[in-house]
Symmetry: C2
Subunit: 358 residues, 2 copies
């Protein structure tokens, strides 16, 4: 892994080009994914089938010269492994059969067998590590405690998250109980992912951005901090390489100074923030990941993709005194299903050629 461009960029070492991978790079926009998905029943079946999930993880790497793989899974497998029945409904998204509605429901959540119940994830990781090139890192991940709690309290995704906020504003001590339990589960889960072989871990805080600053710090950032602190000097079991931690709060751009204080090696940026300003504000405190608008890749022509990708690459490089290191190119959120794979290929090449042509 010493020659991983992704890891070298994260640690601000010299790199030949900006590394690039995409959130949801394995997914519905790929015809080969849709074909494989057809044959395997529910989405959760696919997540729990190590052989097929391994194939899905590797599909984008076979098409594009990406600088990392990310294990194929879903953030909601953690609450599912804690005992919450989960279904993915076509065109509607995930739904829990019973949402968390009482203090007893929190007590009933079982984290004692998290690692056993999520063993299929660790199988996927082991399989992928066998297949990936030695210098292509595998990214493991988890949802943030707050984001998982949102789904568990709402039962599904939501517009205003009023169940979550009812708990948060009226019974904060109960929400903290839930977040504590999730934090314990996530630490077990990520530790096991590391032991199974992932080279990087990422925390997806998809819903922290719905909060006030004060509530974000109390109910989301504090728990992200606890998780990172619990994996302080985690190393891969075989190579003893340090495992960098990526934290991504969608909508978190206004709290960047706060986020940069929890020890994350990389901070993910959505597309609303100017990456040059973010870099100027944070200096070498953390590497930055992002931040192309996923809509450009979905509906923009090549000229539009080129223009905005170059704007981001140049803004980072300029703010970093002419060096591209410390940047991991990505979208500001997941690839949209209507995205044309040819445009993804175009973008990957564009990012790789940037430093050679400027």
């Amino acid at each position: 892994m010493n020659n991983s461009i992704l890891l070298n960029s994260i640690y601000h070492k010299p790199i030949p080009h900006t590394p690039v991978w995409f959130m949801r790079q394995a997914g519905r926009y790929l015809p080969e994914y849709r074909k494989l998905r057809e044959g395997c029943g529910s989405f959760l079946n696919l997540c729990k089938n190590p052989e097929l999930a391994t194939q899905v993880t590797l599909q984008p790497l076979q098409r594009f010269s990406l600088d990392a793989a990310i294990m194929f899974s879903d953030i909601l497998v953690v609450p599912e492994a804690m005992g919450m029945e989960l279904n993915f409904i076509e065109n509607e998204g995930p739904k829990f059969t019973h949402k968390i509605g009482s203090p007893q429901d929190i007590i009933n959540l079982d984290i004692s067998e998290i690692a056993q119940r999520l063993n299929y994830v660790f199988e996927i990781i082991k399989n992928c590590k066998k297949e990936l090139k030695p210098d292509t890192p595998l990214i493991g991940f988890s949802g943030s405690p707050f984001t998982l709690a949102c789904y568990m309290l709402e039962g599904s995704s939501s517009k205003n998250y009023l169940h979550t906020k009812q708990w948060m504003y009226n019974h904060p001590e109960l929400l903290h109980q839930l977040l504590d339990k999730l934090t314990q589960a996530i630490i077990i889960y990520l530790t096991a992912q590391i032991n199974a072989g992932v080279d990087v871990v990422m925390l997806f805080d998809s819903w922290g951005g719905i909060l006030t600053e004060q509530a974000y710090i109390e109910f989301s950032l504090t728990y992200l901090h606890k998780i990172i602190a619990a994996l302080p000097k985690a190393k891969t079991p075989n190579t003893q390489q340090l495992i960098p931690k990526i934290v991504f709060t969608k909508g978190g751009g206004i709290w960047l100074d706060k986020i940069s204080n929890i020890g994350a090696d990389v901070i993910g940026l959505d597309w609303t923030i100017n990456i040059g300003q973010a870099k100027s504000m944070l200096g070498q405190k953390a590497a930055l990941q992002g931040n192309l608008d996923p809509a450009i890749l979905a509906v923009g022509d090549k000229n539009a993709i080129r223009q905005d990708a170059l704007r981001i690459l140049n803004a980072y490089k300029t703010a970093n005194n002419g060096s591209i290191s410390g940047h991991v190119f990505n979208l500001g959120h997941g690839i949209l299903p209507v995205t044309n794979p040819d445009h993804v290929a175009y973008l990957v090449d564009l990012v790789h050629e940037f430093n050679l042509t400027t």
Copy 2:
């Protein structure tokens, strides 16, 4: 209007208490609104009935000691007056029968009779001014050009605004044509609102926050700036009072420095930004409006409402060297329909008593 606490706060003059009003203060959370609404057919019928819309505008003022009224209308009456057929579908929101899909559709938009077609709005304003106490200002408003364009291109509200972004990224010149036309229409509309008697105008940029910083500046902020520049020293026809301009971009907290440069008298803040930090950053450049999470008012108990409202009031006052002036208390977005009117009354009194008790 010389004794309006709202206007005095906007102009940083001494005030006895922080003024307060709420976005969507006239609406579904009020039983008297729901009762009146039942009898009048479609939502658009209500907007177009000056007598009933006047009643609706005044309803919250009869219940609560609010410091301003806002005329009852909808931002989409502007595209409707430009020739786009509009329906409000129960539990689904607004839908245009035909969305903008071609350059010819933009050419077909007719702004020549905007003021005549929207005459019912000016009737509402005149009626309300007769009924309101002399020192209670009436707020007029419009959607921002970008937000109206989003609705016109998508046909309704949207998750990812891919139609809008397809135009924006691939045919920016066409989107600019549409935005130019909307800007002209809005200037006519707001000028006529001022002539009819509004004391303040507000621009609602509900969707600017879905953009990258660069696109926000090019496709939303530039047009907000043009509108404000076209109403530079607008005064009420009778009292010759200056008309302050409020600009609110939901999700615009990270672009506050840019927004503060377009000449707005007041900048609206959603609930994600710390108002104390915003105040410290902007100084006396503009007054600030906001920024309680509407979810607290919808699902929080009185203790939670109290705690967060005081946090906001104190953060502003502290950052403003102990003075409450320059702050207009409001939510960070519209009142949610599930809100308890008793909690609204509680909050209004709390805001009014704040400076007396601290």
